[in-house]
């Protein structure tokens, strides 16, 4: 009897582990593995890890007719009758009155809709630093908390210190860069006036639709920051892939 009990306990362990092993979804509404076709284990037997070949050639553009041109509109592989659409929920990101050592934040939501499917990117660049209208004074672009937590235009780092000053942004939502680990991670915007390249803040190499991300702008000024109304323009550019 005892042996039977112990055997049941052992088998219970086994099934417990088996359950955890098979926890991965083996199918989804979006894909299906088509087994059942009888195939012969043929193919290129000489291959090692992988083999490849390349060829050089030329072909005629079959439809190139007497008009002297061919035009194709839309993506061959997706229904592009639904146009590429880009939305910004709020274009006036109001920080209110800036108070030294008291970070101000404001958010806006970016949405990209792309019909049935499609690749896209959204880039961001500031047209200049956050500065007064007379362009005499400016808030520096953030370096986050500094030291090992120094961020730059392509790498987000934590910005939690109230004595770390500057202007930057955080991202959350779909298709955002992976360095925005949580809401404390920030980057400075690239600056067009300093000939920096726009940063890709949303992108999808896989198909997707109605992708949405929240941009949180943050500004923190030092006690010696001259009083004034500081403003800048952030250019968000959404483009489909090719």
């Amino acid at each position: 009897m005892k042996k039977a009990t112990l055997l049941i306990i052992s088998l219970s362990f086994l099934f417990f582990f088996l359950k955890s092993v098979f926890a991965l979804n083996m199918e989804s509404p979006l894909f299906k593995i088509q087994y059942g076709e009888i195939g012969i284990a043929g193919g290129n037997k000489s291959s090692a890890n992988y083999s490849l070949s390349d060829t050089v050639g030329q072909t005629a553009a079959g439809q190139f007719n007497s008009t002297g041109y061919i035009v194709k509109a839309g993506f061959q592989y997706l229904h592009s009758i639904i146009p590429f659409r880009f939305s910004i929920s709020n274009t006036n990101i109001n920080f209110g009155t800036l108070i030294p050592n008291s970070p101000q934040t404001a958010t806006t939501t970016l949405t990209v809709s792309f019909g049935a499917a499609g690749q896209y990117q959204v880039t961001a660049i500031e047209e200049g630093r956050l500065r007064t209208l007379d362009e005499v004074n400016s808030v520096p672009d953030t370096q986050c908390d500094g030291g090992t937590n120094t961020c730059n235009e392509s790498l987000a780092k934590p910005w939690t210190s109230n004595t770390a000053y500057g202007f930057g942004y955080n991202m959350s939502g779909n298709d955002i860069p992976s360095d925005f680990i949580d809401s404390t991670y920030f980057r400075p915007f690239p600056n067009r006036q300093e000939n920096e390249s726009p940063a890709v803040i949303m992108s999808s190499a896989n198909v997707g639709r109605n992708r949405q991300a929240v941009v949180t702008f943050k500004v923190n000024i030092s006690p010696i920051q001259p009083a004034g109304k500081y403003q800048t323009i952030i250019n968000f550019v959404a483009t489909p892939s090719f």
Partner: protein, 334 residues
Amino acid sequence: MKIFRFLFVIFIFYFLFFISSKDINAQSVSLSLSPPLVETVIKPGKSILIAYTIVNYADPVILSAKVLPFEPKNNLGQIKIKEEFEGPIRFSLDNSHLKLNQSFFLKTNEKEQLLLRLRVPEGAKEGDYYYTLIVESQPVTTQLEKSASFAKASIGANILITVTESGKIEIKPKIVLFEVLPRFRFSFFGEKINFFDSTDPIPLILIIENQGRNLIKPEGEIILKGNFGEKAKFNLIPQNILSQSQRLIQATPSAEIDCSNLSKFRACQSPVSLIISGFFLGFYRLSTAVIFGENSPQISASTSFFAFPIKIFIGLILALTIGFFLIKRFSPKD
């Protein structure tokens, strides 16, 4: 009566102060532009007209249109738009009341057709030229009396132009990578052996390089063959590979992985061409054959992997060990 008067005043105050002020500050932009992509093969000396439609779905907005060249940024289909115009192609708007770089106004739910004239001058050098039509909003920066940043929304549509006198295009592709991203990789007599657990999703990467001077579009499939005769086919998505660039080519149907639970899974760290899900056992071979239109050369590649139920095996060993231990521990001693 007094209480009604009081409530009326409160209502008017609320309406004027909160609702009205929200309307002024929360300016939103929502634009659509179609078609998102235009590909053309054109002779020097010819011109074509492309009709774009820009629609404003949000607050009234001032817009302007411009055309700038772009280049591929990486192998993921991303682009880098150049700051200055370059190249021989000439662009203009055929609209009677509009020009490029000239502002125009769109009310809510209003649309405008932009008739973009594309002209290739005689003597233009044969090759590919890539441009983006950009329609951008003009931010209203004078409304706020506080510190603020203003978002400017720009939406683009790409134009891929192949200039050729003869109508022939150069097809010069090369598969630079066709490989699985294994859980383990061993080296055996100089050969690399890819190894997965039976329940692992199989991530696969296919990168094709276009060494020619014209864009190409891959067609073909990836075939998975197992040692028990099982076979599965996955179609390549015909995504453009621009001249002198590489592109990660995707295949379908690809499994979807919930990366919130599998953040260390390699397919969650970087994009892949295909994820194959299922239960795998033994030796598998993956092969691909790619063509680039009719009468084009075919390129091919293959790779392989082994799959073994490591997790099940470990679970079994662990269960048997515990079972053996318990039996020995509690069995009556003679």
